[in-house]
Amino acid sequence: MIVAVLSGKGGAGKTFAAVNLAAAAGRAVYIDCDVEEPNGRLFFQPQGVRETAVTTALPAFDREKCTGCRACVDFCRFNALVYVKKAPMVFPEVCHACGGCALVCPAGAVGEQRREVGSLEEGNRGEIHVVTGVLRTGEVSAVPVIRAALEAGLSRRETLTVIDCPPGSGCPVMESVSRADFCLLVGEPTAFGLHNLAMVHELCRLLGKPCGLVVNRETEPYAPLEDYCAREDLPVLLRIPYRPQLARWGAEGAVAAERDPALKAEFVRLWNEMGGDV
């Protein structure tokens, strides 16, 4: 089963929920798709880490063959290509690596070069395989690295795969949840938390994914969130009360479920409720 963990708002507890779910299951693949700031590795501290480069395609032009017809420039809907001084010119950060320019070139003048946009780190903590996508600083699009991280993690076909998604509800999130069987939403009982939770919940429903909620850092039931769940038929699968000890463990980089058997049992129950079996 593939579980995507997401929240809309950043800092709601996605990584906390994802890491502890994987840890409670004992055997799992954990994929960190929050490639702009991957932090699951801080808790798992995976061993035997292998690093591989993530690259995307970029057109390479053969000036000898180019006839200057501009078919490539006219085709590029992202306007990544211009034609200046009788030569095509590509803007790498605008290029989406669709390959269309090579297809439309009648002269066969467009080849391909690879451009590094990030890396993958793969290692283990016990029976948890940890895949971390790392986007190179300054890159505009996270999607190629997310795609590579998902491919690496999902190819292992583990019983439980936990995808730690990026915040927000844009393209990187859509890519991260695209292959998920279940979307586990982490809600913070605040107005801001609820607002962004509703956005990402709408996205998951549009994508036809079953959803469940973890209410994190709860001091008392937050009425607007409770109303939302009742109205939108979003089941609350787990409530994690606010506890300073959890924050301390987080600051230490400890996996809370490994320290607290009761919390681990709660995450096991959560996993069972989503249809998993430990």
């Binding site: 992202f78 306007n79 990544a80 211009v82 010119m89 505009v140 393209c171």
Partner: protein, 119 residues
């Protein structure tokens, strides 16, 4: 020498956006002809600055007077040998006069652009 200027809807004052201005003025200083053409990049999904720069290059401009300009567009314009001047005041005509009198400064600051679209 042809001078290009991004124009607003009124077709007489400068548009603050280079990439997404509705019109471009191409003014030929040799014979005084002026052409106001629709900017094909105005509605571009992304890369409007690049597409607008291509349009200016294709219009055979040798100078551009603009309120501001992004880094990517500037790269294209410079590759084509177009000199980018910073505008002074809102009107196209007053800027053309200022250029003629050597009162316009060459632009040295280019903003990082607004390219942030995700696939």
């Amino acid at each position: 020498m042809i001078v290009a200027i991004p124009l607003d809807e009124d077709r007489t004052s400068l548009c603050p956006s280079f990439g997404r201005c509705p019109f471009f003025l191409f003014f030929d200083r040799e014979n005084g002809t002026r052409q106001v053409l629709e900017n094909p990049a105005a509605q571009a999904q992304g890369g409007a600055g690049l597409k607008a720069a291509q349009f200016v290059v294709d219009g055979e401009a040798e100078a551009l007077i603009t309120v501001r300009c992004g880094e990517n567009a500037a790269k294209v314009l410079r590759a084509a040998g177009i000199v980018i001047y910073r505008s002074e005041g809102p009107g196209a005509d007053e800027n053309l006069a200022a250029l003629r009198e050597g009162r316009l400064a060459v632009m040295t600051h280019f903003h990082p652009g607004f390219v942030g679209g995700q696939p």
